[in-house]
């Protein structure tokens, strides 16, 4: 008897207590979709944040709204932006965070760590830097793209990622690489081309500072270094000489050129190990399977010999690409490959620090051992 009375009390309590948690109706919320962070030039080092916000209001004709605010902290700038809106801004669904060039060059650690501290900010949001201010990209982009610019940019990066062309950089990935000793983070770079935002390159960071950019094709080499790549399209330049006798139109219009271009789909993975710890010598094995898609000049693949020549030339081209990329990175002394991580894992004597690795990284030598197998070449021999 007492038990059933207890259940009644419990049910009544449950009904009454629902009022004790603050309600958040969707119609009263401004759901932040994209964040842009710049250093404001008008005030003393204040942060200017630009927000693309969704508002689900039956009376509003446009669901998205652009807001901006100033503050000394990321949250402060958001609160300031909130004074210009009648909605409660909520960060639970942020999809993309854009950092302006100036802010990124000064270091973005202080703008990233508050996102981690707040448990309600999703860890899967994407980060990117812009080559102008983030505000410009977001406001001009909003005018010139027909859809919500935040969603547009997010999809832009997501699509390149889904083709395995660039490494995926979520908030977690970025903070992970940033904190890890012996590895530097990277972020995609968004640029305005004729006032339309585009993904133009990949930004290389030195700690939390944006220092250099590499092309999108180069980003594929980074991606291949870290993970298994599944049929990523790639345009490669090969020397024409070895293919001379297999080219169909011997005296065609392009016969005086030195290079030919081919398009291949590459799948495969890599494995890196340190061979001599003291001399900082590494060996990277890259095993690839390629599918031929297109030539700039028609090639006849009659027998295996042609395939062998092709495989060898592709191997050489990829190896050369890796070597130039590494050289460039050693010059700016930033290690997005994570060679330092491998060194740290094998170095038993003293714990590696970021500074020590910066001294060592320019001196490392890597032997890239590329192994290519031709799988298919389509329907024409």
């Amino acid at each position: 008897m007492l038990n059933s009375r207890f259940i009644y009390i419990l049910i009544i309590l449950l009904v009454l207590l629902t009022a004790c948690v603050p309600t958040r109706e969707l119609e009263r919320l401004g759901i932040i979709n994209t964040y842009g962070i710049d250093i404001s030039n008008s005030q003393d080092g204040q942060i200017e944040s630009t927000l693309i916000v969704f508002q689900f209001d039956a009376q509003a004709e446009n669901v998205t709204k652009t807001l901006s605010g100033l503050g000394y902290t990321v949250k402060g700038a958001r609160e300031n932006a909130n004074t210009k809106s009648s909605y409660i801004l909520s960060p639970g669904q942020v999809r993309l965070m854009l950092y302006g060039k100036e802010a990124a060059e000064e270091g973005i650690f202080n703008y990233v760590s508050p996102l981690v501290r707040d448990a309600r900010v999703p860890a899967t949001m994407l980060l990117a830097v812009t080559n102008t201010t983030a505000k410009e990209v977001l406001t001009l982009g909003q005018e010139n793209t027909s859809i919500n610019v935040g969603q547009y940019l997010h999809d832009l990066i997501e699509q390149e990622y889904s083709e395995d062309l660039i490494p995926r950089v979520t908030l977690h990935d970025f903070t992970h690489k940033l904190a890890a000793v012996g590895e530097d983070p990277i972020l995609p770079v968004i640029n305005l081309v004729e006032d339309i935002p585009q993904l133009t390159s990949i930004g290389i960071f030195k700690d939390d500072k944006y220092v250099e950019e590499i092309s999108i094709p180069d980003a594929l080499w980074l991606n291949l270094f870290h993970k298994r790549v599944q049929s990523a399209p790639l345009e490669l330049r090969l020397t024409r000489e070895p293919f001379k006798e297999y080219i169909q139109s011997q005296n065609g219009p392009q016969s005086d050129k030195e290079d030919i271009h081919i398009v291949i789909d590459i799948s495969g993975s890599s494995h890196t190990k340190i061979t001599h710890t003291d001399e900082l010598r590494y060996k990277t094995d890259i095993n690839l399977e390629i599918d031929l898609r297109e030539f700039s000049e028609e090639l006849m693949i009659e027998d295996e010999q042609v395939a062998d020549v092709l495989e060898k030339e592709v191997e050489r081209a990829i190896k050369a690409n890796y070597e130039t990329l590494l050289e460039k990175l050693q010059e700016i002394n930033s290690d997005p490959f994570g060679f330092g991580q491998i060194y740290r894992a094998k170095n038993r004597n003293s714990p590696l620090t970021q500074d020590k690795w910066r001294e060592k990284f320019p001196d490392i030598s890597v032997e890239f051992n590329v192994n290519v197998k031709l799988k298919n070449y389509g329907t024409v021999k």
């Binding site: 007492l2 038990n3 207890f6 259940i7 419990l10 309590l13 449950l14 207590l17 004790c20 948690v21 603050p22 639970g92 669904q93 448990a119 309600r120 999703p122 860890a123 899967t124 979520t170 977690h172 903070t175 992970h176 690489k177 940033l178 904190a179 890890a180 000793v181 994570g338 991580q341 491998i342 740290r344 894992a345 094998k346 170095n347 038993r348």
Partner: protein, 373 residues
Amino acid sequence: MEINVKMKSIMHVRAFYLFFIISSIQLGVGVIGVPSILFMNARQDAWISIIIAFIYIVVVLLVMFLILNQYENADIFGIQVDIFGNWLGKMLGTVYIIYFAIALLSILITYIEVIKVFIFPELNNFIMGLLLLSLVVYTVLGGFRVIVGICFIFFMLTHWILFLLIEPALKMELTHFQPLFQASFTELMEGAKSTSYTFTGIEILFLVYPFIQNKEKVKIPVLLAAFWTMLIVTLTTVISMGFFAPEQLERREWPVLTLFKIQTFSFIERLDYVVVAEWMMIILPNMVLLMWGVTYGMKRLYKVPQKTSLYLVALMLLIGCTFIDQHFQIQRVINAVDQFGLWLVYVYPFLLLPLVLIKNKRRKKKGEGIHAK
């Protein structure tokens, strides 16, 4: 007071359920924070510390079995009265009761803090405490067999969470574990010691033992439960260590909950919210068992009706959890429980064992048999 507990056969449960009782009470709020504490002590060799801790726990469990086997059907309250006499024995029994009550409080306030950080920052402690405690009171009113049922059901209902760890497990970096075997012996021991709060709970065996029907089969389920807990703690620690950079893991408050933040499905974007809510099902058996321990102890020692002490303790806990709402206060309570538990759970049985053995030998000499008054 009776040393051996006289039990109606309807109150008995089978030894098989001990697996769920022990693993339910061991897994709780400790798991969500233990990877970073372990990592701070033993760095990348933290997994070795867990194994050391597990071996130690197995030894403690064997000692507990040995103590319990000296009596026909006694629990810790009876044994202590038998060894130390009425007055001192009851006092030591009270120590157990207080320990259970503070452990319960620490779970309650930690979980409320997690909810406040992850989901509702404006939530009132009093209300959350009231809701959780009414669930606890309701369950404990059902009696021991209902409590065992709760442990069984919530064990089944919560372990699907492990599947959500697949995605973070795929993002692990194996270099974080290298170079292997860098921690010194003392660091490994410190690491093992820091798991004590997570692994406590085995002391409930001292209380539930008289309720077991087939006592000859007690060992396997209990050891399996301890093994299961060790497995889950190892799993979460290893995944956290691989998933976070070392410098990140050190600074995370609840790394295990953060692991769930990268898992998304098309129908639920933020699974960490679901997991935080789901965690209530993990801590509920925990709190229920401890509450039962408190009330049952009061009944055994002082003949206080279980209902009276249940309501009274619930009220006191409600007041406690309303006022302890600052992070560092909560940490202080956890540390107190940790220290308290370290002595009571992991050291005390070793002190008790020789006394019990000596007493038993003497009794046999006198020819009184084991049915001593």
